[in-house]
């Protein structure tokens, strides 16, 4: 590997190798539409309970309202986050993080890296934490958060969460001004592909669908369905009569919570949710997240003993 990465994917691969070397389980993206890497159950649910945890993964993320038909140099409705969650947060987490920047070619002796106050709060997840946005030469390259609460539960022990906005970080490292011009694979490969080769068309298609075409009646119905199913799953007795054992279905329920959250984002992009309704919808998703968290903390994965 040369000192400077040459492509988007090389940056991802270097982050994967770095965090693998630091002992994280390298997970794969969650197979559902989410707004941010935090929604992956490997973060949201695993930040709860007493069991130690260390995971890193790429998470494709969707924010329908940010779609700009692939024209804006920095904004996308579909983008990638790199996510690290370590529980309990190790005392040298800042140094570990700075090591990851070095791994992708950011020399701390040539740049100005700063930890600037940023309190993180997710009203939809009923979660909050304190930390920073990390600046490199005036640009925000990561979020760094010590989780204090998730789904209304105190985090004990506390997890340290790192979130890298991959496109923005990569554009900076690679010196690219427009995301669509960024080399995705090696520029010297037999078939060099840019980010635009892969995503320009999809950005257009999704922007049109998100803003103008998505069937809002259907989306509203799906929201209600997801909400109802989530509650139904959680209200099902923990005892499974077929296997004669306790099976709390926290993850299937949480899938429905993720669905509801994304459907809300789509409805928001379609402009059919008023300012006051917004709060009510966010509250409904938060209620689901809390119910899922309540269920998860009773499971073995959270360190609960039967």
């Amino acid at each position: 590997m040369s000192d400077k990465p040459r492509s988007f994917q090389e940056i991802i691969l270097r982050l994967q190798s770095y965090w693998a070397a630091k002992g994280c389980a390298i997970l794969q993206p969650y197979d559902m539409e989410v707004g941010a890497g935090t929604f992956h159950p490997a973060t949201t649910l695993r930040a709860l309970g007493s069991k130690p945890w260390a995971a890193a993964y790429v998470q494709p993320s969707r924010r329908p309202t940010d779609g700009r038909y692939g024209v804006n140099p920095n904004r996308l409705q579909h983008y990638y986050q790199y996510q690290v969650l370590i529980k309990p947060s190790p005392p040298d987490l800042q140094d570990l993080y700075l090591g990851s920047l070095a791994a992708i070619g950011i020399d701390a002796h040539l740049h100005d890296i700063r930890f600037v106050e940023d309190d993180w709060e997710s009203p939809t997840l009923g979660a909050w934490g304190l930390g920073w946005e990390v600046w490199c030469d005036g640009m925000e390259v990561s979020q760094f958060t010590y989780f204090q609460q998730v789904g209304g539960h105190d985090c004990r022990p506390v997890s340290g969460e790192l979130t890298y906005g991959l496109e923005r970080l990569a554009m900076y490292v690679l010196g690219v001004d427009h995301v669509m011009d960024m080399p995705f694979n090696d520029p010297d490969a037999p078939i060099p592909l840019t980010y635009g080769d892969i995503f320009r068309q999809t950005e257009q298609e999704y922007a049109r669908w998100n803003f103008d075409v998505a069937d809002t009646d259907m989306l509203l119905q799906h929201f209600k369905d997801a909400e109802a199913e989530c509650h139904r799953i959680l209200s099902t007795a923990a005892h499974d009569p077929k296997k004669d054992m306790q099976i709390i279905m926290a993850h299937p329920a949480y899938d429905q919570c993720i669905k509801a959250s994304h459907l809300f984002n789509l409805l928001d992009a379609r402009g059919v949710i008023s300012v006051t309704e917004r709060q009510a919808y966010i509250g409904r998703v938060r209620a689901l997240a809390k119910a899922c968290a309540d269920a998860f903390v009773q499971t073995e994965a959270a360190g609960a003993t039967a």
Binding site: P73, H111, E117, L130, D137, S274, T276
Partner: protein, 702 residues
Amino acid sequence: MPDLLIELFSEEIPARMQARAADDLRKLVTDGLVEAGLTYAGAAAFATPRRLTLAIDGLTGESRAVREERKGPKVGAPDAAIDGFLRGAGITCEALEIRDDKKGQTYFAVIEKPGRKAADIIAEVLDATVRNFPWPKSMRWGTGSLKWVRPLQSIICLLSDEAGAEVVPLTIDGITAGRSSRGHRFLSPDTFTVNGFDDYEAKLKRAHVILRADERAEVIWNDATQQAFASGLELVEDRGLLAEVSGLVEWPVVLLGRIDEAFLGLPPEVLQTSMKEHQKFFSVRNPKTGRIERFVTVANMATADDGATILAGNQKVLAARLSDAKFFWENDLRTVKAEGLEGMGAGLANVTFHNKLGSQGDRIARIAALAREIAPHVGADPDLAEQAAKVAKADLQSEMVNEFPELQGLMGRYYVTAAGLDSAVAAACQDHYSPLGPSDAVPTAPVSVAVALSDKIDTLTGFWAIDEKPTGSKDPFALRRAALGVIRLVLENGARINLRDIRVSAEMRIPEEFKSGETVPDDAGANYDSLLAFFHDRLKVYLKDQGIRYDIIDACIAMPGNDDLTLLVKRAHALAETLATDDGENLIQGFKRANNILTQAEEKDGVEYSYGADLKFAEDDAEKALFAALDAADAKIMPAMKDEDFSTAMTAMAALRGPIDAFFTAVQVNDDLQVIRRNRLNLLSRIRKICLSVADLTKIEG
């Protein structure tokens, strides 16, 4: 006398919290030490992004021994009494002494508190300080239970004197105090040990950390102004930003950067806001043109390439931000040119203001009608006021304000100007949100005043109508601020407005289906108007800051026309001035005496003595003199009141003090002769009438 050095080294402390935290550390520790019996000569606290530091000098080496004696029950007292005494004194019965007292043999407790070493006291005080530190927000980390603003990593707690320095033994949640610190995260990451404050500060500087925030600010300010000056430019002063930036760096390095030509045509406020809010850049102005042409960024890093990479990165980030801003600006101007401000603001009809008060569009229509009505009262052209109100919030739908909400109003001014509307309308767009706080300037241009008043009165009336009044500390719609805004707009412009009338018509524009709370009754009945009472409450707070007592304001609120705040305050000022004079102060006593005697007589007799006193029944010279004085006062007060000349009226009223005092000295009101008594009571009634015509003096205390 030893010196004490404390350093609490942590991960990055938010800039906005540092100064306060340093102050709290100093106060909590010194208070704790003093309370435990130590004294000190001086204490100073400092903060950087990664540390809070406290230096105390001339500390006493130990607290003094204290011996306390307490007298207890008599010998032979019930066991319960003796047990209680022992518990209270914290000793056992063996330690009791028996002495002869006046009343016989009595138990005495002698409590000896030996002096304690400073180190023991410091350890206790620092532990309590760290565990109970008043951070605005604090957090846990890892597996620990300690709360700090961000993870606390190490502690220095060092006592030093001529003989040397010693660490105060202390462990807080697994962190053991020592004598070593660390320098700059990247420039000098190694740890070093210290033997006292001077050594500490000097070593920090060698390790690329300037301990004192004011010194960092000075470095930044001097370097930035010099670099700007060297380019023939000037730094735009911003003390808030300077303080913030000083809290983001331990080793400030000032870099002067360029703004791409393509962005220099943006409104200077857009450049400034974008640079300041997002990037913490200072703006650098060309003194000849007033244009903002460069920026200053403050890095926390000295690099081998003299900051070239850092500056290039910052310029790139800024260019991305500003190309967004330019894109928004150009789109907005295109919209305004093609569709006018109405076109830009059309979407407000679909934006909910509050689910019980309709859309922003509904609200704007109400404000426009109200502005038209208020305009004549503040000297504004009704057409312009209505037009201004209609377009004042259009910029909320602009792309620029969507991105930079803090530019609301200001962008409206630019867009209204671009649309070729009257400059008074443009000014109203910018100023109608003002005043936002007690120190914010109040608009004075008539059209701006009309729109600013209408905006706030509609807000207040609306939330009153749906019964969303502020309660206790809860004021989610900032209604107290709105009411204070109305008060300041009215008073500082000397506007004559009957809020009651305006409110009634504002109230009428709110659709019936929205109303759930108190509505304005047709008549001025009891419990009439809690919104007016709310204004009066805010007014009391406002006037109290100007040195006018509550009771004086109450005396004026009780008078007719109390919804005309300018009149009300004029009366209050005159009354305050009058009461500050010797005559005024004593007149109140005379008035109260007259009023008490009269009220008692009226209650006892069941009649009202208001038939007019007759001079022919006056016996005493003082009594006759009072008749003359009241006639003279009447002659002055009535026309003065008609002219709202409260000073003259109240001066005339205060002049009654002498005759009233003389009357009470010479005359017994309750004379045996009923004719005389009735006449005197009727005379007192004249005093009451005259005094109450000026202000309700019964409300005055003392």
